[in-house]
């Protein structure tokens, strides 16, 4: 599924845009001008990576500072232990689109439990 996100002109370098689908996806425009899309929710706890610290091709989670590689979704060090999903980005007619991955998302335990009707 290809979803329009926002106009490229509306997403300055160094900024992120959160797409409120379920689970949310965020699009990052790096200082070098590249565009990446990853799951917005940190795999550790319920934090929005769009609120994080973007540096190069990495975003640092705003809460506990695990860093995710925007290209691969890989995480560098605890407390987060699992990668985030990455999504394909397509820019068409000046509009950023993402093609959402069909892999299962790596949601943090607190949210995963909620989604499956758990008690957490």
């Amino acid at each position: 599924m290809k979803i329009p996100v926002c106009r490229l002109a509306d997403l300055p370098r160094g900024e992120a845009f959160r797409l409120d689908i379920d689970p949310p996806v965020s699009v990052f425009h790096t200082d070098d001008g590249e565009i990446f899309a990853i799951d917005d929710t940190c795999t550790h706890q319920d934090a929005s990576l769009a609120d994080g610290w973007l540096e190069g091709c990495e975003v640092e989670c705003p809460l506990h500072a695990s860093k995710f590689d925007l290209r691969t979704g890989a995480v560098d060090a605890p407390p987060a232990k699992r990668p985030v999903r990455t999504h394909e980005v397509v820019v068409e007619d000046g509009v950023i689109h993402v093609r959402v991955s069909t892999d299962a998302p790596n949601l943090p335990p607190c949210l995963a439990a909620r989604l499956t009707g758990g008690s957490a």
Binding site: A47, S48, A50, D51, G52, W53, E60, P62, L63, H64, A65, A77, P78, P79, K81, P109, C110, A113, A120
Partner: protein
């Protein structure tokens, strides 16, 4: 360097072991820790683990497939360092010969004198502490938390959510005034009263009472906290949250200079060549503050080992990069509290965003107009921007 020991098998020790391998060290690596557990994460102990929403497996700091090629000596305490022979002596009599040493022994919870042997009295630092406290909180009742610092406040918040009747006693006029300054300390600690948790400030604790009903074979239980002004606060459970002291006794007489923990440079180097210190036990020189600071926060214990290991492997020949301003977070009553920088040097603090009444605040601390620290309550996005600015401004 052919043999390196890391003493302390928690966040700072594990981070150092990782940094060693990442930075190319391929010799013998021994990790010594006096707890029996593999490295685990402490912050959830006062929050999700205590609340029962995370279990022990979730606390693991290592990835499932992680292989550091280290020898783990767990359940074993380091008892001394012999600088001449370069030997770490273990409490069980064993000796580990090392060329390099990373000190990562953290801190231990301070206890209340006179509370020994009274059931129902807890501190919270380790997984074993947290298990015991969790089991006791599950029975419900009246909880008195001694100390309104971060650990005390988090325990109060978690216990309140579990349905206990909670009172917090704080000796200072305002809780958290040390790390946050009086104005913001007052705003953050108002979260207690917002939620109906009693907060008694400016009064010290004289002692604990209890133990009158000692049955044979059973220890007596605490039944009240006695305050210096004569009041007695009934209690079924008491948590003592009065800070932590660095675990460095084992280094006395070793030649490693001690002063509120291990005194070290901005790169973690100690007074002994080939020895660095990291984490809660380390009193680092902070060039921004122009003074030594022992910072007891997660992010420092996670990040600073990179620099200390670089120093160790280079024999002290590297220039330390400026460390990022200290950063910590806390979760209380559903509010995400974040802080970066040093409040102590500030001459003003102003709320720049949000409203104090909503407990939704972004406050900036300044000295002579320059930002030196920032506090966020439920403001992760703005907080991160300010934290980044702070790092850039003062690096």
């Amino acid at each position: 360097m052919r043999a390196v020991a890391v003493v302390g098998a928690s966040l700072a020790g594990l981070s150092a072991a990782r940094s060693l391998r990442k930075q190319g060290y391929d010799g013998r690596l021994v990790v010594i820790g006096d707890e029996r557990h593999r490295p685990y994460d402490r912050p959830p102990l006062s929050k999700e683990f205590l609340a029962g929403t995370l279990d022990e497996a979730d606390l693991a700091l290592e990835a499932d497939d992680e292989e550091l090629g280290a020898e783990w000596l767990l359940g074993t305490r380091a008892a001394g360092l012999d600088r001449g022979e370069r030997v770490v002596r273990l409490a069980d009599g064993r000796k580990v010969r090392v060329d390099g040493l990373v000190i990562a022994t953290g801190a231990a919870a301070r206890r209340l004198p006179g509370a020994e042997g009274l059931a129902g009295v807890h501190v919270l630092r380790t997984l074993d502490d947290a298990r015991a406290l969790r089991d006791e909180l599950a029975r419900g009742g009246r909880l008195v938390v001694i100390g309104g610092g971060f650990i005390g406040a988090e325990v109060a918040s978690t216990a309140h959510a579990l349905g206990l009747d909670v009172t917090v006693v704080e000796a200072a006029p305002t809780p958290l005034a040390g790390p946050l300054g009086a104005a913001m300390g007052g705003i953050v600690s108002a979260l207690h009263t917002d939620h109906g948790v009693r907060l008694l400030c400016g009064v010290g604790v004289k002692g604990l009472s209890g133990g009158e009903h000692i049955r044979r074979g059973a220890r007596g239980s605490v039944d009240a906290v006695l305050l210096e002004d004569g009041r007695s606060i009934p209690a079924d459970i008491v948590v003592v949250g009065v800070g932590a002291r660095p675990c460095v006794e084992w280094l006395e007489g070793s030649g490693v200079e001690l002063d509120n923990g291990v005194k070290c440079g901005a790169d973690g180097r100690t007074s002994l060549a080939g020895v660095v210190a990291v984490g809660d036990c380390a009193n680092w020189y902070d060039p921004r503050a122009g003074a030594h600071r022992r910072v007891e926060h997660w992010t420092g214990a996670r990040e600073r080992p990179d620099a200390a290991v670089a120093t160790l492997l280079a024999g002290g020949a590297v220039e330390p990069g400026a460390p990022r301003p200290p950063y910590f977070w806390s979760d209380q009553y559903g509010v995400k509290i974040q802080f970066a920088g040093h409040a102590a040097g500030a001459d003003s603090v102003a709320v720049e965003e949000g409203a104090v009444d909503d407990r939704n605040v972004l406050a900036v601390y300044r000295r002579a107009g320059e930002p030196v620290a920032v506090l966020g309550m439920n403001q992760p996005r703005l907080f991160t921007r300010w934290r980044k600015r702070l790092a850039a401004a003062t690096s």
